[in-house]
Symmetry: C2
Protein backbone atom coordinates (compact mmCIF):
# COMPACT_ATOMS: atom_id res chain seq x y z
CA UNK A 1 0.00 0.00 0.00
CA UNK A 2 1.21 3.50 -0.81
CA UNK A 3 1.80 5.81 2.12
CA UNK A 4 0.18 9.22 2.21
CA UNK A 5 3.56 10.73 1.32
CA UNK A 6 3.89 8.60 -1.80
CA UNK A 7 0.37 9.45 -2.88
CA UNK A 8 1.23 13.13 -2.56
CA UNK A 9 4.45 12.60 -4.45
CA UNK A 10 2.61 10.76 -7.24
CA UNK A 11 0.19 13.68 -7.52
CA UNK A 12 3.11 16.12 -7.60
CA UNK A 13 4.82 14.13 -10.35
CA UNK A 14 1.62 13.90 -12.38
CA UNK A 15 1.37 17.70 -12.26
CA UNK A 16 5.04 18.08 -13.23
CA UNK A 17 4.47 15.77 -16.18
CA UNK A 18 1.45 17.83 -17.17
CA UNK A 19 3.60 20.97 -17.01
CA UNK A 20 6.08 19.39 -19.45
CA UNK A 21 3.27 18.38 -21.78
CA UNK A 22 1.85 21.90 -21.68
CA UNK A 23 5.27 23.32 -22.51
CA UNK A 24 5.50 20.86 -25.42
CA UNK A 25 2.04 21.87 -26.67
CA UNK A 26 3.06 25.53 -26.45
CA UNK A 27 6.20 24.89 -28.49
CA UNK A 28 4.20 22.87 -31.01
CA UNK A 29 1.75 25.73 -31.48
CA UNK A 30 4.53 28.34 -31.58
CA UNK A 31 6.28 26.28 -34.28
CA UNK A 32 3.03 26.05 -36.25
CA UNK A 33 2.74 29.83 -36.00
CA UNK A 34 6.33 30.16 -37.21
CA UNK A 35 6.00 27.75 -40.13
CA UNK A 36 2.60 28.91 -41.39
CA UNK A 37 2.94 32.62 -40.44
CA UNK A 38 -0.12 32.23 -38.23
CA UNK A 39 -0.59 35.15 -35.85
CA UNK A 40 -3.56 33.54 -34.12
CA UNK A 41 -1.52 30.47 -33.21
CA UNK A 42 1.21 32.73 -31.79
CA UNK A 43 -1.29 34.68 -29.68
CA UNK A 44 -2.82 31.43 -28.46
CA UNK A 45 0.57 30.31 -27.15
CA UNK A 46 0.80 33.40 -24.96
CA UNK A 47 -2.72 32.84 -23.61
CA UNK A 48 -2.21 29.12 -22.98
CA UNK A 49 0.92 29.79 -20.98
CA UNK A 50 -1.10 31.48 -18.28
CA UNK A 51 -2.44 28.04 -17.33
CA UNK A 52 1.12 26.75 -17.14
CA UNK A 53 2.08 29.60 -14.81
CA UNK A 54 -0.94 28.88 -12.60
CA UNK A 55 -0.12 25.19 -12.45
CA UNK A 56 3.46 26.03 -11.57
CA UNK A 57 2.33 28.10 -8.61
CA UNK A 58 0.08 25.28 -7.42
CA UNK A 59 2.85 22.70 -7.73
CA UNK A 60 5.37 24.90 -5.91
CA UNK A 61 2.83 25.34 -3.15
CA UNK A 62 2.12 21.60 -2.99
CA UNK A 63 5.85 20.80 -2.81
CA UNK A 64 6.32 23.18 0.13
CA UNK A 65 3.31 21.65 1.83
CA UNK A 66 4.67 18.10 1.41
CA UNK A 67 8.03 19.18 2.84
CA UNK A 68 6.37 20.89 5.82
CA UNK A 69 3.90 18.11 6.67
CA UNK A 70 5.87 14.99 5.84
CA UNK A 71 9.46 16.08 6.54
CA UNK A 72 10.78 13.46 4.10
CA UNK A 73 14.41 12.30 4.20
CA UNK A 74 16.88 10.56 1.84
CA UNK A 75 15.47 9.70 -1.60
CA UNK A 76 11.99 10.94 -0.63
CA UNK A 77 13.44 14.34 0.21
CA UNK A 78 15.47 14.41 -3.00
CA UNK A 79 12.32 13.62 -4.99
CA UNK A 80 10.53 16.68 -3.58
CA UNK A 81 13.54 18.95 -4.06
CA UNK A 82 13.82 17.65 -7.64
CA UNK A 83 10.16 18.62 -8.11
CA UNK A 84 10.96 22.15 -6.96
CA UNK A 85 13.64 22.40 -9.64
CA UNK A 86 11.52 20.76 -12.31
CA UNK A 87 8.75 23.35 -12.00
CA UNK A 88 11.35 26.00 -12.87
CA UNK A 89 12.60 24.04 -15.86
CA UNK A 90 9.13 23.29 -17.24
CA UNK A 91 8.00 26.90 -16.75
CA UNK A 92 11.11 28.10 -18.53
CA UNK A 93 10.37 25.73 -21.44
CA UNK A 94 6.99 27.44 -21.72
CA UNK A 95 8.75 30.81 -21.58
CA UNK A 96 10.95 29.80 -24.51
CA UNK A 97 7.86 28.82 -26.55
CA UNK A 98 6.53 32.29 -25.73
CA UNK A 99 9.73 33.82 -27.13
CA UNK A 100 9.20 31.98 -30.42
CA UNK A 101 5.58 33.18 -30.50
CA UNK A 102 6.67 36.77 -29.87
CA UNK A 103 9.09 36.71 -32.81
CA UNK A 104 6.24 35.39 -35.03
CA UNK A 105 4.06 38.27 -33.80
CA UNK A 106 6.78 40.89 -34.28
CA UNK A 107 7.41 39.85 -37.91
CA UNK A 108 3.77 39.25 -38.89
CA UNK A 109 2.47 39.44 -41.66
CA UNK A 110 5.98 38.62 -42.87
CA UNK A 111 7.48 35.22 -42.12
CA UNK A 112 10.21 35.30 -39.46
CA UNK A 113 12.22 32.65 -41.30
CA UNK A 114 13.40 32.32 -44.93
CA UNK A 115 11.84 29.49 -46.98
CA UNK A 116 15.07 27.50 -47.09
CA UNK A 117 15.06 26.82 -43.33
CA UNK A 118 11.36 25.94 -42.94
CA UNK A 119 12.24 22.23 -43.00
CA UNK A 120 14.86 22.68 -40.29
CA UNK A 121 12.49 24.52 -37.97
CA UNK A 122 9.81 21.94 -38.61
CA UNK A 123 12.24 19.29 -37.43
CA UNK A 124 13.37 21.34 -34.43
CA UNK A 125 9.71 21.77 -33.49
CA UNK A 126 9.14 18.00 -33.64
CA UNK A 127 12.24 17.36 -31.56
CA UNK A 128 11.02 19.87 -28.98
CA UNK A 129 7.63 18.17 -28.66
CA UNK A 130 9.26 14.73 -28.32
CA UNK A 131 11.66 16.08 -25.70
CA UNK A 132 8.83 17.56 -23.64
CA UNK A 133 6.75 14.37 -23.85
CA UNK A 134 9.74 12.19 -22.99
CA UNK A 135 10.54 14.42 -20.02
CA UNK A 136 6.92 14.00 -18.85
CA UNK A 137 7.22 10.25 -19.19
CA UNK A 138 10.56 10.10 -17.35
CA UNK A 139 9.06 12.08 -14.45
CA UNK A 140 6.19 9.64 -14.04
CA UNK A 141 7.93 6.30 -14.38
CA UNK A 142 11.68 7.00 -14.74
CA UNK A 143 11.63 5.15 -18.09
CA UNK A 144 15.33 4.73 -19.02
CA UNK A 145 14.55 4.30 -22.74
CA UNK A 146 12.85 7.67 -22.82
CA UNK A 147 15.69 9.19 -20.75
CA UNK A 148 18.27 8.05 -23.28
CA UNK A 149 16.08 9.30 -26.15
CA UNK A 150 16.14 12.72 -24.47
CA UNK A 151 19.90 12.69 -24.65
CA UNK A 152 19.86 11.69 -28.34
CA UNK A 153 17.24 14.29 -29.25
CA UNK A 154 19.19 16.97 -27.41
CA UNK A 155 22.29 16.05 -29.42
CA UNK A 156 20.22 16.26 -32.62
CA UNK A 157 18.90 19.66 -31.55
CA UNK A 158 22.41 20.95 -30.81
CA UNK A 159 23.58 19.77 -34.21
CA UNK A 160 20.70 21.56 -35.98
CA UNK A 161 21.42 24.69 -33.95
CA UNK A 162 25.11 24.57 -34.93
CA UNK A 163 24.24 24.17 -38.62
CA UNK A 164 21.78 27.04 -38.49
CA UNK A 165 24.34 29.25 -36.77
CA UNK A 166 26.97 28.28 -39.34
CA UNK A 167 24.64 29.14 -42.23
CA UNK A 168 23.81 32.54 -40.77
CA UNK A 169 27.44 33.43 -40.06
CA UNK A 170 28.74 32.30 -43.48
CA UNK A 171 29.52 34.79 -46.27
CA UNK A 172 26.85 33.05 -48.40
CA UNK A 173 24.05 34.30 -46.18
CA UNK A 174 21.79 36.47 -48.39
CA UNK A 175 18.80 37.26 -46.19
CA UNK A 176 20.24 40.29 -44.40
CA UNK A 177 20.75 41.23 -40.78
CA UNK A 178 17.23 41.17 -39.26
CA UNK A 179 16.52 37.67 -40.61
CA UNK A 180 19.93 36.51 -39.35
CA UNK A 181 19.28 37.87 -35.87
CA UNK A 182 15.81 36.30 -35.67
CA UNK A 183 17.12 32.96 -36.85
CA UNK A 184 19.92 32.88 -34.31
CA UNK A 185 17.55 33.80 -31.49
CA UNK A 186 14.97 31.24 -32.63
CA UNK A 187 17.64 28.55 -32.88
CA UNK A 188 18.79 29.41 -29.37
CA UNK A 189 15.25 29.18 -27.98
CA UNK A 190 14.78 25.65 -29.34
CA UNK A 191 18.20 24.62 -28.14
CA UNK A 192 17.56 25.96 -24.63
CA UNK A 193 14.18 24.20 -24.62
CA UNK A 194 16.03 20.93 -25.22
CA UNK A 195 18.56 21.76 -22.49
CA UNK A 196 15.76 22.08 -19.94
CA UNK A 197 14.34 18.68 -20.94
CA UNK A 198 17.82 17.25 -20.33
CA UNK A 199 17.95 19.05 -16.98
CA UNK A 200 14.61 17.50 -15.99
CA UNK A 201 15.81 14.00 -16.87
CA UNK A 202 18.99 14.65 -14.86
CA UNK A 203 16.97 15.74 -11.84
CA UNK A 204 14.82 12.60 -12.03
CA UNK A 205 17.99 10.50 -12.05
CA UNK A 206 19.30 12.52 -9.12
CA UNK A 207 16.16 12.01 -7.09
CA UNK A 208 16.55 8.24 -7.13
CA UNK A 209 20.32 7.94 -6.80
CA UNK A 210 21.60 11.23 -5.37
CA UNK A 211 24.07 11.27 -8.24
CA UNK A 212 23.69 12.10 -11.88
CA UNK A 213 25.67 11.37 -14.99
CA UNK A 214 23.58 13.91 -16.89
CA UNK A 215 24.51 17.53 -16.34
CA UNK A 216 21.46 19.37 -14.93
CA UNK A 217 22.28 22.41 -17.04
CA UNK A 218 24.71 21.66 -19.84
CA UNK A 219 25.44 25.38 -20.20
CA UNK A 220 26.75 25.67 -16.65
CA UNK A 221 30.30 24.50 -16.08
CA UNK A 222 30.26 21.39 -13.94
CA UNK A 223 33.45 19.86 -12.60
CA UNK A 224 31.73 16.44 -12.54
CA UNK A 225 31.84 16.41 -16.31
CA UNK A 226 29.14 16.72 -18.91
CA UNK A 227 29.15 18.88 -22.00
CA UNK A 228 29.81 22.16 -20.22
CA UNK A 229 33.06 24.06 -20.08
CA UNK B 1 20.84 33.08 20.89
CA UNK B 2 20.73 31.61 17.39
CA UNK B 3 19.45 28.06 17.09
CA UNK B 4 21.49 25.45 15.27
CA UNK B 5 19.06 25.76 12.35
CA UNK B 6 19.61 29.50 12.06
CA UNK B 7 23.37 29.10 12.23
CA UNK B 8 23.14 26.61 9.35
CA UNK B 9 20.88 28.96 7.43
CA UNK B 10 23.30 31.85 7.96
CA UNK B 11 26.13 29.70 6.61
CA UNK B 12 23.98 28.71 3.63
CA UNK B 13 23.16 32.34 2.89
CA UNK B 14 26.80 33.39 3.20
CA UNK B 15 27.66 30.76 0.58
CA UNK B 16 24.83 31.91 -1.69
CA UNK B 17 26.06 35.50 -1.41
CA UNK B 18 29.56 34.32 -2.28
CA UNK B 19 28.13 32.53 -5.35
CA UNK B 20 26.58 35.81 -6.52
CA UNK B 21 29.84 37.67 -5.96
CA UNK B 22 31.73 35.02 -7.92
CA UNK B 23 29.23 35.35 -10.79
CA UNK B 24 29.71 39.14 -10.67
CA UNK B 25 33.50 38.75 -10.74
CA UNK B 26 33.17 36.38 -13.71
CA UNK B 27 31.02 38.88 -15.62
CA UNK B 28 33.45 41.69 -14.75
CA UNK B 29 36.37 39.70 -16.14
CA UNK B 30 34.38 38.58 -19.20
CA UNK B 31 33.48 42.22 -19.88
CA UNK B 32 37.14 43.21 -19.52
CA UNK B 33 37.99 40.51 -22.05
CA UNK B 34 35.32 41.84 -24.37
CA UNK B 35 36.30 45.50 -24.11
CA UNK B 36 40.07 45.03 -24.32
CA UNK B 37 40.09 41.97 -26.65
CA UNK B 38 41.90 40.04 -23.93
CA UNK B 39 41.93 36.29 -24.57
CA UNK B 40 43.63 35.54 -21.26
CA UNK B 41 40.86 37.25 -19.30
CA UNK B 42 38.27 35.24 -21.23
CA UNK B 43 40.05 31.96 -20.52
CA UNK B 44 40.37 32.91 -16.85
CA UNK B 45 36.57 33.30 -16.64
CA UNK B 46 36.07 29.72 -17.77
CA UNK B 47 38.62 28.43 -15.24
CA UNK B 48 37.22 30.50 -12.36
CA UNK B 49 33.73 29.18 -12.95
CA UNK B 50 34.81 25.72 -11.91
CA UNK B 51 35.02 27.02 -8.33
CA UNK B 52 31.49 28.40 -8.66
CA UNK B 53 30.23 25.01 -9.84
CA UNK B 54 31.97 23.29 -6.91
CA UNK B 55 30.50 25.75 -4.42
CA UNK B 56 27.08 25.21 -5.96
CA UNK B 57 27.31 21.48 -5.39
CA UNK B 58 28.35 22.03 -1.77
CA UNK B 59 25.50 24.46 -1.15
CA UNK B 60 22.91 22.15 -2.75
CA UNK B 61 24.20 19.36 -0.56
CA UNK B 62 24.09 21.56 2.56
CA UNK B 63 20.51 22.63 1.78
CA UNK B 64 19.37 19.01 1.48
CA UNK B 65 21.12 18.20 4.73
CA UNK B 66 19.40 21.09 6.56
CA UNK B 67 16.02 19.95 5.24
CA UNK B 68 16.64 16.35 6.29
CA UNK B 69 18.04 17.06 9.77
CA UNK B 70 16.00 20.09 10.84
CA UNK B 71 12.69 19.52 9.01
CA UNK B 72 11.98 23.28 9.05
CA UNK B 73 8.46 24.67 8.52
CA UNK B 74 6.84 27.96 7.50
CA UNK B 75 9.31 30.80 6.80
CA UNK B 76 12.29 28.63 7.80
CA UNK B 77 11.28 26.06 5.20
CA UNK B 78 10.73 28.75 2.57
CA UNK B 79 14.21 30.12 3.29
CA UNK B 80 15.84 26.77 2.53
CA UNK B 81 13.73 26.19 -0.59
CA UNK B 82 14.65 29.72 -1.73
CA UNK B 83 18.30 28.76 -1.25
CA UNK B 84 17.80 25.74 -3.51
CA UNK B 85 16.47 28.05 -6.24
CA UNK B 86 19.13 30.70 -5.69
CA UNK B 87 21.98 28.25 -6.33
CA UNK B 88 20.48 27.66 -9.79
CA UNK B 89 20.16 31.37 -10.49
CA UNK B 90 23.68 32.22 -9.34
CA UNK B 91 25.17 29.28 -11.26
CA UNK B 92 23.29 30.39 -14.36
CA UNK B 93 24.68 33.93 -13.95
CA UNK B 94 28.12 32.40 -14.03
CA UNK B 95 27.11 30.42 -17.12
CA UNK B 96 26.11 33.64 -18.87
CA UNK B 97 29.50 35.20 -18.07
CA UNK B 98 31.02 32.07 -19.63
CA UNK B 99 28.97 32.69 -22.79
CA UNK B 100 30.40 36.20 -23.07
CA UNK B 101 33.91 34.81 -22.57
CA UNK B 102 33.35 32.19 -25.28
CA UNK B 103 32.32 34.84 -27.81
CA UNK B 104 35.51 36.80 -26.96
CA UNK B 105 37.51 33.61 -27.52
CA UNK B 106 35.75 32.76 -30.77
CA UNK B 107 36.43 36.22 -32.28
CA UNK B 108 39.97 36.64 -30.97
CA UNK B 109 42.27 38.31 -32.14
CA UNK B 110 39.44 40.40 -33.57
CA UNK B 111 37.16 42.35 -31.26
CA UNK B 112 33.65 40.86 -30.92
CA UNK B 113 32.09 44.33 -30.78
CA UNK B 114 32.38 47.42 -33.02
CA UNK B 115 34.07 50.49 -31.46
CA UNK B 116 30.84 52.46 -31.32
CA UNK B 117 29.24 50.14 -28.74
CA UNK B 118 32.25 49.75 -26.43
CA UNK B 119 30.80 52.39 -24.09
CA UNK B 120 27.47 50.59 -23.94
CA UNK B 121 29.02 47.25 -23.07
CA UNK B 122 31.23 48.89 -20.49
CA UNK B 123 28.08 50.22 -18.83
CA UNK B 124 26.26 46.89 -19.12
CA UNK B 125 29.26 45.23 -17.48
CA UNK B 126 29.15 47.71 -14.56
CA UNK B 127 25.41 47.18 -14.16
CA UNK B 128 25.95 43.41 -14.10
CA UNK B 129 28.56 43.66 -11.34
CA UNK B 130 26.33 45.97 -9.27
CA UNK B 131 23.39 43.59 -9.75
CA UNK B 132 25.40 40.60 -8.58
CA UNK B 133 26.77 42.46 -5.54
CA UNK B 134 23.34 43.81 -4.63
CA UNK B 135 21.86 40.31 -4.92
CA UNK B 136 24.58 39.06 -2.54
CA UNK B 137 23.75 41.82 -0.09
CA UNK B 138 19.99 41.17 -0.28
CA UNK B 139 20.58 37.48 0.46
CA UNK B 140 22.57 38.25 3.60
CA UNK B 141 20.50 41.00 5.18
CA UNK B 142 17.39 41.49 3.00
CA UNK B 143 18.41 45.15 2.52
CA UNK B 144 15.37 46.80 0.85
CA UNK B 145 17.45 49.67 -0.59
CA UNK B 146 19.63 47.18 -2.44
CA UNK B 147 16.54 45.22 -3.54
CA UNK B 148 14.99 48.30 -5.12
CA UNK B 149 18.32 49.18 -6.74
CA UNK B 150 18.26 45.72 -8.36
CA UNK B 151 14.92 46.57 -9.90
CA UNK B 152 16.23 49.93 -11.20
CA UNK B 153 19.42 48.42 -12.59
CA UNK B 154 17.44 45.67 -14.30
CA UNK B 155 15.26 48.32 -15.96
CA UNK B 156 18.41 50.14 -17.07
CA UNK B 157 19.82 46.89 -18.46
CA UNK B 158 16.60 46.16 -20.37
CA UNK B 159 16.69 49.64 -21.86
CA UNK B 160 20.30 49.23 -23.02
CA UNK B 161 19.43 45.83 -24.48
CA UNK B 162 16.48 47.32 -26.38
CA UNK B 163 18.64 50.13 -27.79
CA UNK B 164 21.34 47.69 -28.86
CA UNK B 165 18.75 45.45 -30.53
CA UNK B 166 17.21 48.47 -32.28
CA UNK B 167 20.61 49.60 -33.59
CA UNK B 168 21.41 46.15 -34.96
CA UNK B 169 18.02 45.73 -36.64
CA UNK B 170 18.00 49.23 -38.21
CA UNK B 171 18.85 49.78 -41.90
CA UNK B 172 21.77 51.99 -40.76
CA UNK B 173 23.65 49.01 -39.34
CA UNK B 174 26.94 48.82 -41.26
CA UNK B 175 28.91 46.13 -39.45
CA UNK B 176 27.49 43.10 -41.25
CA UNK B 177 25.77 39.91 -40.13
CA UNK B 178 28.34 38.17 -37.86
CA UNK B 179 28.87 41.32 -35.77
CA UNK B 180 25.09 41.79 -35.56
CA UNK B 181 24.55 38.23 -34.36
CA UNK B 182 27.31 38.46 -31.74
CA UNK B 183 25.98 41.76 -30.47
CA UNK B 184 22.44 40.46 -30.10
CA UNK B 185 23.63 37.35 -28.27
CA UNK B 186 25.93 39.38 -26.02
CA UNK B 187 23.12 41.80 -25.23
CA UNK B 188 20.88 38.90 -24.36
CA UNK B 189 23.49 37.36 -22.02
CA UNK B 190 23.79 40.60 -20.01
CA UNK B 191 20.03 41.02 -19.93
CA UNK B 192 19.47 37.45 -18.70
CA UNK B 193 22.21 37.96 -16.09
CA UNK B 194 20.16 40.89 -14.73
CA UNK B 195 16.96 38.81 -14.83
CA UNK B 196 18.53 36.21 -12.56
CA UNK B 197 19.59 38.90 -10.07
CA UNK B 198 15.95 40.04 -10.04
CA UNK B 199 14.85 36.43 -9.55
CA UNK B 200 17.17 36.10 -6.55
CA UNK B 201 15.79 39.26 -4.94
CA UNK B 202 12.25 37.94 -5.56
CA UNK B 203 13.10 34.64 -3.89
CA UNK B 204 14.53 36.44 -0.86
CA UNK B 205 11.29 38.41 -0.56
CA UNK B 206 9.35 35.17 -0.93
CA UNK B 207 11.29 33.42 1.80
CA UNK B 208 10.25 35.99 4.38
CA UNK B 209 6.67 36.65 3.32
CA UNK B 210 5.55 33.68 1.21
CA UNK B 211 4.49 36.23 -1.39
CA UNK B 212 6.41 38.27 -3.88
CA UNK B 213 5.71 41.38 -5.87
CA UNK B 214 8.80 40.74 -7.96
CA UNK B 215 8.40 38.16 -10.70
CA UNK B 216 10.93 35.35 -10.09
CA UNK B 217 11.56 35.09 -13.79
CA UNK B 218 10.34 38.06 -15.78
CA UNK B 219 10.54 36.03 -18.99
CA UNK B 220 8.02 33.46 -17.78
CA UNK B 221 4.38 34.49 -18.08
CA UNK B 222 2.94 35.00 -14.61
CA UNK B 223 -0.75 35.65 -14.09
CA UNK B 224 0.11 37.57 -10.89
CA UNK B 225 1.58 40.33 -13.02
CA UNK B 226 5.13 41.47 -13.61
CA UNK B 227 6.73 42.32 -16.88
CA UNK B 228 6.05 38.98 -18.55
CA UNK B 229 3.34 38.25 -21.08
Amino acid sequence: MRTEFHQQLDALNADLARMCEMAGEAMQRATLGLLTVDLEAAEQVLTDLESLARLRRDVDHAALSVLARQAPVASDLRAVVAAVHITSDAARMGGLAAHVARIVRRRHPQSAIPDDVVGQFSEMGSLAVDLADDAASVIVDGDPVRASRIRDDDEAMNEMHRRLFGAVMSPEWTHGVPAAVDLVLLGRFYERFADHAVAIAARVLFRSTGRTSLDPDPEIPNPQGGRAG
